[in-house]
Assembly symmetry: C2
Homo-oligomer: 140 residues x 2
DNA sequence: CTCGATTTATTTGTATACAAACATTTTAAT
DNA sequence: ATTAAAATGTTTGTATACAAATAAATCGAG
């Protein structure tokens, strides 16, 4: 092997593509004063409000220690609330605050637009393969 | 739109897949006392030693501020050296240190193995499409 | 030549990401 | 019932990632 370019590695390609797409999201979500990852957390809560911390982390495939910090910031901005779980005192329930419910459509609409701009760069067949492979890797 | 799962977004799928693959790399590179991103920097230098800081950042599609920190750590571990550019006193040249040259084959071989384990989960046709799409997004 | 604009790398500050250690609570084996 | 083991969420420490501000050097219009 005589070529050592990092771009030969699938991991490098993945991380470079991910950073490009995430930066594109980040720039466009910035006026709404929210990060891409924070948007994913709200998306999960729009689907299931009042979910357990542990389940939320699992839905997001996210490390618990990471989620703790993200919830701290979302709570500080009054997008979410934490509450004790009456059934298990170790557990924490996470709820949407009014502000998150209010901006839901606006956030959702923007994210949809950003997503479509990526999608439309490719044929729907290729995109389907791409999406399936990302899921297979990500859910493994 | 009534479904708000974050997993509908391509950006989420990308970042989840990337984290899975990167963690897999990270765990396997850990015994060599190097991170995945640090490995990419060395890969670039194995291809072109003594490159300018600016060019290195471009090859890696990496923010300069990020690269500064990574080089600090690689320099502290004696994997690389920084030197003044005789042609432009603003510029910095980055060189491989002996340690990086010594471990080159070992690092390269392990990374090759990890990459193949991802690759072999898919048909070569699908993988080619996947790879091409990651490049198209990442190089945009 | 001169001085403002640009380029280059670093520093600072904030936000993920995750391992490891921790405190609290619950579970389960006896 | 008791207690060791397991589960849950937070804290701490390190490493990316990047915007914004900074310092130093070079460029370029006049």
């Amino acid at each position: 092997m005589s070529i050592f370019s990092p771009s030969q590695y699938i991991c490098f390609k993945l991380s470079r593509a991910m950073r490009k797409v995430q930066r594109y999201y980040e720039v466009n979500l910035a006026p709404l004063e929210i990060t891409t990852v924070q948007f994913y957390v709200l998306s999960s809560l729009w689907e299931t409000d009042g979910i357990k911390f542990k389940e939320l982390a699992q839905k997001l495939s996210m490390d618990g220690a990471t989620l703790t910090g993200i919830l701290d910031r979302l709570e500080r901005q009054e997008f979410v609330l934490r509450a004790d779980d009456p059934e298990d005192r170790r557990s924490v329930l996470v709820f949407l605050a009014e502000k998150a419910k209010m901006y839901r459509d606006e956030f959702q609409c923007l994210a949809e637009t950003l997503d479509n701009e990526i999608k439309h760069q490719f044929s729907s067949e290729d995109f389907a393969i791409f999406s399936r492979m990302l899921n297979q890797i990500g859910e493994s």
